[in-house]
Symmetry: C2
Subunit: 419 residues, 2 copies
């Protein structure tokens, strides 16, 4: 099965899929069970909960993006003060997000950064941190430090254990390794490992994405590409509209393939296309794996620049639209209502709506449907991915948001847990 | 059982509860099954779906509030052009909201206004309209007009049928009739009939509230009181954060009791207290009756004026906070995360949080809890009404939002319906 499963992401022709656990040259990774997650009651090995990813080359450059929450975890606070343009490693854990634990949490984060750095023989400012899990509980320091040291001793060329160590409610790993044929004739590798089963569940569903390439980049070029691709992927998805305290994206480029990507070159464009497809598919996997999700919707909004974003978010985050998606119900009334809510009173409601390419409303008025057209519409929304298109007044703006349905399983997952 | 069931609303001492179906002097009401809602498949009487409420006195004054959606129904568009300060009647129906049906919907609304006015022998501009139900389907005009005429012939001194005719997914009627002893020594009546099982489900859960008093008011005084009380009641509740296309509040005062309420008098204050308690309890009934709701939460936020409202809404509308309320889980992590989301990055996260009066976080850091304190907290959130208090940086602002939990039943109600 191809990694590019969504109809909304095409595999670029110059991209070939490798073993999903492979890494680009010069990267190594590991994952262990340190004991942050509980050991199964019946005995046996505990789930992996600490992972380490390292680039061997000193000249590695990096690009980093965090979430926009006023409350961020200690790992983000500490990483923010590291050398963001030249990170060589990331230490990640699941099971506890180290958020809202005050100075104790900050000290644990700094200690883990130092322990990983020492074990790797590099400066602490070259190690990024990422934690995901319960909020407001103490992250056991010694457990994390022991995990970091164990990872450093077990580094290898496969990302499987690292990828497993960052998962929480995810149904399975989210990763790929691509070979990208560049116009200059060279080939480089591009790999990504992600987690996320919700924009956020503060308990344990924060989103991470780590990307590695063995191409050589200037920091500014990698940073620009990463920023653009994040905006088109992880910034465009919603499971429950809840912004995490721990979202982290880190891209590493170590130059091990001996191929330099010049700014504004054809090679940059080709690698950018591959990075874009990689991140968008990983983002779509988070939505499809959204807690309890059974279907994914995409809402595309065109119109005045300042209107498209709030309208797209309003539709994607409406629990009524999301429940209708679960029920395979082409409930245009709920879509129009949420659009009107986002526009607010005083705005003329001149909105066109299509569902799966079938026009439903024109200039704010629902079209007359005959029974046959109803059946066509009802059948169209039974697929696993459903398209909603909205045209608002004005021009120049266009955006999209991918969202999951609201299911009984989501309610179960999020109500049957006791803090 | 008292009407004032919530611990968050006290019955003012000068207020006595009458039969909930009673109306103030000079008001009459009716409700019929016209056929907008389907007749039961097995035969028998159909649910009431058209209601009419009338004030007999020519000197009646009124005050009106609508929702703030860019998409509003034809009934709101037509009522907006009526004599809003002197309405004498409201024609309401359930089963179809007459929204997004273009000029056909507007013509139906105007025709029903004219039919009700003719049957009552008053000008059409004195009749308000309110419809609730499915969006984007034709409201059958002749059925509605026949219902309006049947209501006009069946008017009586009890509000029971009228109240039933405006219900949709509501579990039962929401109404009260109060006798208010005024400081001047006189007594007047104040009655209210409401519907709502969600801020909105575009299918059929719009919110209405009609209030009548036989006190005599200047329009400006009634309008001011109504506006203040709406802001403290229906503007402070959320079932799913979804703004209706049809929310309507109409207050009528006909002077039939021969008691004039002077502006800024002690009598105005006393009647205002009664109106406030009436509307707040009706609003709380909507939340408690929110589609599938089992518990009600209240979030109170104090701090800088511009921060309190977005933070309160963010907490109340978070599906994660709402699912935790269902599970009787004192999940402070989700509360803090939603606060941080509303504040956005760049804001210092200095937030105090208490749940049911028990402090959980101070200056953004979760307190150390021992096992006994945990049990106390867990027991505290098992009640049917749960208090959350937040203190943000800054001063001068304070607000509250009442919200329902997110339940499996909510998902069922909103997914198992086909447009």
């Amino acid at each position: 099965m191809t990694f590019f499963r969504s109809r909304w992401v095409q595999r670029p022709e110059h991209v070939r899929e490798l073993d999903p656990g492979a890494l680009p040259q010069g990267f190594r990774a590991a994952g262990v069970h340190a004991g942050i997650k509980a050991t199964p009651a019946g005995g046996g090995a505990g789930a992996l909960d600490v992972g380490l990813l390292v680039s061997d080359a000193e000249a590695t450059v990096s690009a980093v993006r965090f979430c926009d929450n006023a409350l961020v975890g200690a790992p983000i606070a500490v990483t923010s003060e590291a050398r963001l343009d030249g990170l060589r490693a990331v230490l990640a854990n699941s099971g506890n997000s180290n958020v809202a634990d005050g100075s104790r949490g900050l000290e644990t984060a700094r200690a883990s950064q130092a322990a990983a750095a020492e074990a790797l023989g590099i400066d602490a400012e070259l190690v990024g941190l990422a934690s995901t899990g319960v909020i407001g509980r103490e992250l056991p320091r010694d457990t994390l430090l022991a995990g970091a040291r164990a990872c450093a001793e077990g580094l290898g060329p496969d990302s499987a254990d690292f990828c497993a160590a960052i998962l929480t409610t995810d149904r399975g790993p989210k990763r790929a390794c691509l070979e990208v044929a560049l116009p200059s004739g060279a080939a480089v590798r591009l790999a990504g490992q992600a987690k996320g089963a919700g924009m956020i569940s503060p308990r344990f569903a924060t989103m991470f994405c780590f990307v590695e390439t063995d191409a050589e980049f200037e920091h500014d070029t990698l940073d620009l590409l990463t920023g653009v691709c994040v905006k088109r992927s992880f910034d465009r998805i919603s499971v429950d509209g809840q912004l995490s305290t721990s979202d982290t994206v880190i891209a590493f480029a170590n130059g091990a393939a001996g191929v330099r990507i010049e700014p504004e070159s054809a090679d940059e464009l080709a690698l950018g296309q591959a990075l874009d497809a990689l991140m968008r598919q990983l983002a779509l996997e988070m939505v499809a794996d959204g807690e309890g999700a059974t279907r994914v919707g995409r809402v595309v909004v065109r119109g005045a620049t300042e209107l498209v974003e709030p309208v797209a978010r309003a539709v994607a985050d409406s629990p009524l639209v999301k429940a209708a998606l679960l029920g395979a119900d082409p409930n245009f009334g709920r879509i129009l209502q949420s659009v009107g809510q986002a526009l607010g009173s005083g705005t003329q409601f001149v909105v066109d709506l299509s569902i799966e390419g079938i026009q439903v409303a024109s200039a704010g008025v629902v079209l007359d449907f005959d029974a046959e057209m109803w059946r066509t519409l009802e059948r169209a929304v039974e697929s696993s991915e459903v398209d909603i298109d909205l045209a608002l007044p004005g021009e120049g703006g266009e955006t999209e948001v991918f969202f999951s349905d609201l299911t009984h399983e989501y309610v179960t997952i999020n109500s049957e847990y006791s803090t």
